[in-house]
């Protein structure tokens, strides 16, 4: 049953299973294990980014395509939900059709970009998506009548998902069960379902063909698979998944703006998460996203301590200043591309064999 749920793609490593279980259990009981607003924010971010990073891995790790437009699809999903909620008011209907519209638009965009640039070269696609995504980000911040420009959109979500709503009077383990916790569980279960769906996709015959195309496109074509079709479908699927992750973010934050969804920084974060976690293994997305966001939230603090300790040494203290954490992740990123191209998950799996 469990194997079936995981589509036959079990972690295949004791340590990896343990780590994944820790992540799963911590996220499933996050409101009770780690009470407090900040840790709940972090847990929800981790859930959303697991979906986002896994959808990027679908493209990068399984199809071997580098796209820089992933945040664009993420943003389209977020803005779809946000626009529906802000124009027609906080109803579940608006939430659903906004999400569906976002996913649909993302699919169309991905189809257009894919058909137009995947025929040539992987490098071409990377450059075209980079250009298109940055143009999109500029467009969104300029169409302020629709998108709120740089300020973004603030909107209401259905009342049942806000802190003002109390499900039951009594407290469970000292935590009051309010709408925020319901919203968290909406995000959590949606993330679990989307992750399992992606696991299903990559372990289907389609996923296998995708890997074949990645490893040797020429040969796959010769065997009779239409490479462009497979690549484009992978792009569209991953765009839809990213858009859904964007909708989850829009519901959770009750705010959507260019900085939280479309910025190049997020694109680079996703790239780092995929590579450090492990390309071509969806479990890598789980570990990568979890570690990265924990680092993003708590490494600042650690590096602050390190900077304090070394404040006497001039250069070192600037290098370990809390704002420079991305520097170290960048170095880690380069090293992991060279030495652990399969990331943490690949290491763990290899260690077992």
């Amino acid at each position: 049953m469990l194997t079936r749920l995981l589509s036959g793609d079990t972690p295949r490593s004791g340590l990896l299973t343990a780590l994944l279980l820790i992540v799963l259990i911590s996220l499933a009981f996050a409101p009770f294990l780690f009470p407090g607003t900040k840790s709940l924010e972090t847990a929800a971010r981790i859930c959303i980014f697991i979906v986002l990073v896994a959808s990027y891995d679908l493209l990068l790790g399984y199809a071997g395509i580098v796209s820089f437009a992933h945040t664009m699809f993420f943003g389209i999903g977020a803005y779809g939900t946000a626009l529906a909620l802000s124009t027609t008011g906080p109803s579940y209907g608006a939430l659903v059709w906004g999400t569906a519209a976002g996913a649909g638009v993302a699919a169309l965009f991905a189809l257009a970009i894919g058909l137009f640039s995947l025929r040539v070269k992987a490098i071409f696609f990377a450059m075209v998506t980079l250009a298109v995504a940055s143009a999109f980000a500029v467009l969104v911040s300029q169409m302020s009548w629709l998108t709120g420009g740089e300020d973004g959109l603030n909107y209401k979500i259905p009342r049942e998902l806000t802190p003002a709503f109390k499900l039951i009077k009594a407290k469970v383990f000292d935590v009051s069960i309010n709408g925020k916790i319901l919203a968290y569980y909406l995000v959590f279960f949606a993330a679990v379902i989307l992750f399992l769906v992606m696991l299903r996709i990559v372990n289907s015959p389609f996923g296998r063909t995708l890997k074949a195309v990645r490893d040797n496109a020429f040969r796959a074509e010769a065997i009779g698979y239409r490479v462009v079709w497979y690549r484009t479908t992978a792009t569209v699927l991953s765009a839809v998944m990213a858009a859904l992750a964007g909708s989850l973010l829009a519901i959770w934050l009750r705010y959507t703006g260019p900085a939280t969804t479309l910025s190049m920084e997020i694109m680079i974060d996703i790239l780092l998460m995929v590579v450090i976690g492990g390309m071509g293994t969806l479990y890598g997305a789980v570990l990568g996203a979890t570690l990265f966001i924990l680092a993003q939230t708590y490494l600042h603090y650690l590096m602050g301590v390190a900077a304090e300790a070394t404040s006497a040494v001039p250069v070192v203290s600037t290098l370990v200043a809390p704002e420079r954490w991305l520097l170290w992740l960048g170095v880690l990123f380069i090293l992991s591309v060279y030495f652990f191209p399969t990331g943490i998950v690949g290491r763990l799996r290899a260690g077992r064999a």
Partner: protein
């Protein structure tokens, strides 16, 4: 022996094909003419055209290195923007040291200060290019996916290092006295600096063309683009040639960075990745690996960006994307495809 040698038969290219080859060159005047009709007022058209050409020249300077590196070694450097930013910051520091020279009324002193700044920036970015090639790019030859990832990582690290060295704030980079202000021709006001930028860009393009067409090293580079293995088999060290080209490309990016910094007058650590969007569009339009294509692409993008910024400011960046799409519909490999799709 020699008198019996068979005469090589040189096929004449039909006129139609010759025209088709020359066609992209005509795009630039056509675009300028369309711009004149759309804008209507010749004075503002002249101002915008000079601005567009200046912007195009600067983009060309930054993009040329990238495109030749790609053509020669099939390496795309997503970290190219880092050289642009580093060049601008080094230029800023040197100009700040030479504040006495830039503030003096003497044109000669001003230009010397700029020249020193440019040389310093090119030296630093050239050396940085050497390190970048050795440490970051060399282990991943022939693997596009890893190249994109690794050079992107290099970009992140370089940007963060800029923060470490120069601090996180954006800096104001002022032009020297002689390059401030504008010339007034009739009703059109043309900034002096833009004319200088057009001059430098044009000189560089002609110089590059000369080197590529008329010198041995240019011959080797062109041959390497066409068929690197064959050049290597003939006994030339393509790797070393490539290193030189990579360093030159990085130094040119540094030059572009200084010029762009003086043009915008503010510099940030992120300027590299912002400008890279335009650089990529230009490289794609021109055809990967082609210097001429890159030049025409840069002119088209510069002119179009300035015309649309005047006519409809909101769609300025979208218009360059539209241009890219249109060019790719017409010629899927760019204007002058040099490297065959592998």
């Amino acid at each position: 022996m020699s008198e019996t040698a068979i005469k090589p038969r040189i096929e004449k290219i039909p006129l139609k094909e010759q025209l088709a080859q020359k066609l992209p060159v005509l795009l630039v005047p056509v675009l300028a003419a369309v711009g004149l009709i759309a804008i209507g007022n010749p004075a503002s058209w002249l101002t915008l055209t000079v601005a567009g050409l200046a912007m195009g020249m600067m983009i060309f300077i930054m993009a040329s290195g990238l495109t030749v590196v790609f053509g020669l070694m099939d390496v795309i450097n997503f970290g190219h923007g880092a050289f642009v930013a580093v060049g601008a910051f080094v230029g800023f520091t040197v100009l700040a040291w030479l504040a006495g020279w830039t503030a003096s009324p003497s044109v000669f002193m001003n230009l010397t200060a700029v020249l020193v700044a440019i040389l310093a920036a090119m030296l630093v970015t050239g050396l940085l290019g050497l390190a970048f090639e050795r440490v970051i790019v060399m282990p991943v030859y022939g693997e596009h996916l890893k190249q994109i990832l690794v050079t992107m990582g290099g970009l992140i690290v370089a940007q963060q290092m800029i923060y470490v060295v120069w601090g996180p704030d954006e800096l104001h980079m002022s032009r020297p006295e002689a390059l401030q202000g504008s010339l007034v021709i009739g009703e059109a006001a043309i900034e002096k600096y833009r004319l200088v930028a057009v001059g430098i860009g044009l000189a560089l393009f002609l110089g590059m063309r000369h080197i590529l067409k008329n010198t041995k090293i240019g011959l080797l580079v062109r041959a390497g683009v066409e068929n690197g293995e064959m050049v290597e088999a003939l006994g030339y060290r393509v790797r070393r040639l490539f290193l030189i080209v990579f360093m030159t490309g990085s130094a040119l990016a540094g030059l572009g960075g200084v010029m762009w910094g003086l043009y915008q007058e503010t510099i940030t650590a992120h300027m590299g990745s912002e400008i890279m969007v335009l650089v990529f569009i230009v490289v794609i339009i021109g055809g990967l690996g082609s210097v001429e294509g890159c030049f025409i692409g840069a002119m088209l993008v510069g002119l179009l960006a300035n015309y649309t910024a005047f006519l409809a400011p909101k769609v300025a960046l979208i218009s360059t994307i539209a241009l890219m799409v249109a060019v790719l519909m017409w010629r899927p490999q760019g204007l002058y495809p040099v490297v065959k799709a592998k």
